[in-house]
Structure formats: C-alpha cells, structure tokens
C-alpha cells in the first residue's frame, strides 16, 4: 500500500510543478516592467488603457447575449427532447457535438462567405448585423457545454411529474417551461452560462476575422506590441477563468437543494 502511495505523490508533485510554475512565472514576469525592481505598473498600465475597458466590456456584453440566446435555444430543445421527443435525442446530441468537430476558423470562414452583403441575409453588412453574427457564433461555440449543463440539470428533476402537475393546474407548455422547469434548473443553466463566458471572453479567431473590437484581438495586439503587459493580462485572464469556474463549483453546491424540492 505504501508503495502505491509514493508513486502517486511523485506523480502529483510533478503535475503540480508543471501546472503551477507557468502561473508563477507569468506573475513574476508581469512584475518586471520597471528595471531592477518588482512593481505592479504593468497592471496599472493595463487597467488604465481605455482599449482594455472598451474591449473587455464589449466581449462581456457579447458573451451575455450569447448566453441569453443560448438559453432560449437550448432549454426548450432539451426539455422537449426529454419529455416528448426522445427519438430526437441522438440527432440533437450529434448537433451539439458539431462545434467540437468544426473548428472555429472554419465556422467564421463559412459565415463570411455566407452572410456577406451580397447574400440573402446580409449580416456583415452593418456593425449591428456583425455583432449579431458574433453573438450567434459564440452561441454555436458554447452549444456543447450549454446543452450538456442543461441536460444534466433536467436529469436531476422529475420533468414528467412537474409538467403533468402544471398541466392539470391549467398551465400551457410555454408557461410550464418558463415558470416551472426553468426555475428548477436555474443552477444548471447558470453553470452553463459561466462556462460560456469562460470560453467566449478571450475568443480570438472569430472576433478578429469578423473585425469586431473584442477582448481576444486586443490581447493579441498587446501581446505583439508590449513586453510586460501581456503577462499581466494573462494573470487577469486566469483569474477570470478561475472566477467563472469557481462560480460553477459554488453553484453546484446549491444544486441538490433545488432538486430535492421536486422529489
């Protein structure tokens, strides 16, 4: 028994080194902006850059809309597949895997060809249209994660009984979905939302090829032109990702309580 413990500890130690050293190094590098001494000037420089605020705000907004649209698309689909159309499940699950199969660069290349101003749906013809296209692209990117999260949420509640009870009380399908089902899976939906945010906030390929002033292209631009700010931005990004994932962990603690109410 002791031997097995030893190799496990060694493996764990090596893994910790591989994963933590880059984080420490990034933090250390971000402090080096002043010659010969450590300082937080790189962070001050980043936070006072108006483009940081503008692009971060833009990406946050786009991410928020992507979450909302994603919820409207995914929740009804997952609910009805579970309740009434289980034969559609393989199809839906295959579709949710598509964004993993189709790389983002292919997706955006297709969008540019398909939705330019000479097409039927000229989304790239205006700034607003391009913003919509970016939101929809992010909905697509987040589809696998959003669907998985919502489906897991639905599994923990008794969709069948809840729906029947509400039907007897005279509610129609949309009301059931909005007022009965949704509140019961809000935790799952939120964890899907935070995952979406984590994926979307620093996305580079699609935003840059659609030429929108998002956080990802800004990161790339700073990365090419500044020496120490990129490290500070990497630390900030890591904190954001950690925050989003931390929220999911936190939410999952509340999840069983909600599910218990429906039993």
């Amino acid at each position: 028994m002791k031997r097995s413990k030893l190799w496990a500890w060694i493996t764990f130690g090596v893994a910790v080194a591989y994963f933590l050293v880059p984080l420490l190094a990034t933090f250390e590098f971000s402090l080096r902006i002043r010659r010969g001494t450590y300082s937080l000037d790189a962070y001050a420089s980043v936070f006072s850059d108006p483009r940081f605020q503008a692009t971060f705000g833009y990406s946050l907004l786009v991410g928020l809309f992507a979450i909302i649209v994603g919820i409207f698309i995914v929740v009804p689909a997952a609910y009805f597949v579970r309740l009434r159309a289980p034969h559609l499940r393989p199809l839906i699950e295959f579709v949710t895997l598509l964004p993993l199969i189709i790389p983002p660069i292919i997706l955006v290349f297709g969008y540019i060809r398909l939705y330019n101003t000479s097409s039927i749906l000229p989304l790239t013809g205006s700034t607003f249209g391009t913003d919509i296209l970016l939101v929809l692209a992010y909905v697509a990117l987040a589809l696998p994660y959003m669907y998985r999260a919502v489906d897991t949420g639905l599994r923990t509640i008794d969709v069948q009984t809840l729906t029947e009870a509400a039907t007897i009380l005279g509610a129609n399908q949309m009301v059931i979905l909005a007022r009965v089902i949704f509140p019961n899976i809000i935790v799952a939906v939120l964890s899907g939302a935070f995952l979406t945010l984590a994926i979307v906030i620093g996305e580079f390929t699609i935003a840059s090829l659609l030429n929108r002033p998002a956080f990802g292209p800004y990161l790339q631009n700073v990365g090419a032109n500044r020496a120490f700010e990129p490290a500070a931005l990497a630390v900030i990004s890591f904190v954001i990702t950690w925050g989003a994932m931390g929220m999911i962990q936190l939410l999952s603690r509340f999840a069983p309580k909600t599910a218990a109410l429906t039993d």
Partner: protein
C-alpha cells in the same frame, strides 16, 4: 404545417411516454397539441444548427470544388499538393498527435494517481476543479504564460541560466519549435484528459479488483488483463478528441509566433486575411482538408465511445 405535424405525431406516438397517463377529456387532441409544441420547442435549436453550423460548413465544402468563374473543378484540391501546404498539414498533424498522445498518457497517470493512489480526499476535488479551469485556459493568455516561463527571458530559462549555468537556448531549445508548441498545448490537453477519463476510472468497479485479488492476481495482472482493456477504448477515443482539439486551435500558436508558424489553421487564417497563397480558391480547399481531418478524428471518438459505454454502465 398542420399536415406535417399530424404525420410526425403519428410516427412519434409509440415512443412518447408518461404524458398520456393523466386523465383528460380529449386525450388524442391534447396529445397532438403537445406533440406540436414539442416540435416547436426543438425547432429554434434545429434552425440555428442548420443556419449557423451546417450551411456555413457545407458552403465551404462546396466552395472547394468551384473555380473563380463558378464552374465545377478539382483544381483547388489538386493545388493542396504543393510542398508548403502539405508541409503545413504534416506539422499540424504531428503537433496535434504528439500533444494528444502525451496529453492522454500524462492525464491518465495523473488521474490514476489522484483517484486510485490513495491521496488525501481533498486533492481529488482540487485536481478536478483545477482541470476545469486549465482546460479552458487555452488561447492567447496561455501563450503569454509560456513566453513568461520558457521564453528567452522567462523565469525557468533565467533560473537555469543564473543558478545552474545552463543556457537552454544555447543548448538548442526554442519555445517556437515543435517541442515548445507541444509542451504548451499539453497545458490544456492534460487537464481535458483528466476531466474525461476520471469518470471512466471511477467506473472500474472495486469488486473487479477485489475479485481479481481473491483469485490470486497481482496488481500488474489486474491492470494488464482488466484495468487497461476496460479503459482502452476510452483512452483511444479521448486521444482522437484531444487530437481534434489541438488541430483546430489557432490562438495560442498565433500569439506565440504570428502568422509565420506554418500550421494549417494559421495558414488558413493568413489566407483569409491576406491571400498569402495568391489563390483565392485555395481557402475553401484548405478548410475542406481541416474538416475532413477533424471529422475523421471525431468519428473515431464517437464510435469508440458508444462501444465503451457498454462496459461502464
């Protein structure tokens, strides 16, 4: 609309459960209405998938076989045969394969250590949480992190040089190399592997190893004849998923080197941006090549996963 919906309702009736159980005045009409609702509920999802996943991709696939004048041609596909483009596919495939295989191996070892290595209870949760974060810590910030670590002025490079008098860069190491890129990709590949394989390792039932040891099998024998064979399909499947994951990645490599790193997604990016291949038709053909390769990797994953699931139920 009504015609098709009733058609669909009819065919779907036997599958549907539960909803018919409650007493209603006109169960059939009610049922038909709810079935229509079901399809209306799924419709936005499917319409979205068609418009923003399927059609854009198919547009590119079709575009690969069309010349500037709009005529059918194989020329674009044939043009992929130039050494520079073949080389970029080859580098992409090698980096993706190396990071997928190494990621799977290291991920498996770490997952085994954490789950079956009798480490303190909290470590498992911490590792899984961290994996969730790290598997999403890809893209541009990851490139910054590795430049700060293993770049020429990175912490590790500097420490090796000043404390151990070992100059990695003089010794031939370069972050902008096959090994450097693979090392960087492992930062998100290993955690992804841990996340995917952890449930499978949990699925190795305690009873199996107990039964094995009761029958006199050693630990090695248990892994050789039971553990690995059960995990094997999962491992293979995950490798192909990791491969596709790395193959489509662009931001990390782009932030490391700009458009001069000749992997396929970056070549395609530079082509869309600046027609660097001096042949507009080639873009779609490049894209088609990528789709074929990632689709192939994912089909392997899906097939293997569906087989593996039988074991783990």
């Amino acid at each position: 609309m009504t015609d098709t919906s009733s058609l669909v309702t009819g065919s779907a009736a036997p599958v549907s459960t539960g909803a018919t159980g409650s007493p209603r005045r006109n169960p059939l009409a009610n049922f038909a209405r709810s079935q229509l609702g079901a399809y209306l509920g799924v419709a936005p999802f499917l319409i979205f998938a068609v418009l923003f996943l399927l059609v854009p991709t198919l547009t590119l696939v079709a575009g690969a076989f069309v010349d500037d004048a709009g005529h059918f041609t194989f020329q674009n596909i044939l043009d992929l045969g130039t050494p520079a483009i073949l080389n970029s596919y080859w580098i992409s495939i090698r980096v993706s394969a190396a990071s997928a295989i190494l990621g799977a191996v290291f991920g498996l070892i770490i997952a085994l250590a954490v789950i079956r290595g009798r480490l303190p209870e909290g470590i498992r949760a911490a590792v899984l949480t961290f994996s969730g974060v790290a598997s999403n810590f890809a893209g541009i910030p990851l490139a910054f992190a590795f430049l700060s670590t293993l770049g020429r002025l990175g912490l590790v490079t500097v420490i090796l040089k000043t404390v151990f008098d070992f100059d990695m860069y003089k010794a031939g190491f370069n972050l902008l190399s096959f090994s450097g890129l693979t090392l960087t990709y492992l930062y998100f590949q290993i955690p992804l592997m841990i996340l995917i394989i952890a449930p499978a390792i949990d699925g190795l039932k305690k009873e199996w190893s107990e039964a094995a040891s009761t029958l006199g099998a050693t630990k090695t024998q248990f892994w050789r004849y039971i553990g690995l064979p059960v995990l094997w399909p999962n491992l293979l499947g995950t490798v192909s998923l990791l491969f596709a994951n790395a193959f489509g990645a662009i931001a990390t490599a782009y932030a490391l080197t700009g458009s001069s790193l000749n992997i396929v997604p970056i070549l395609l990016y530079a082509q869309i941006r600046g027609d660097v291949l001096h042949n507009p038709g080639l873009g779609a053909a490049l894209a088609l090549g990528m789709i074929v390769i990632t689709a192939f990797a994912n089909v392997i994953y899906l097939v293997i996963r569906s087989r593996a699931e039988r074991w783990l139920k």
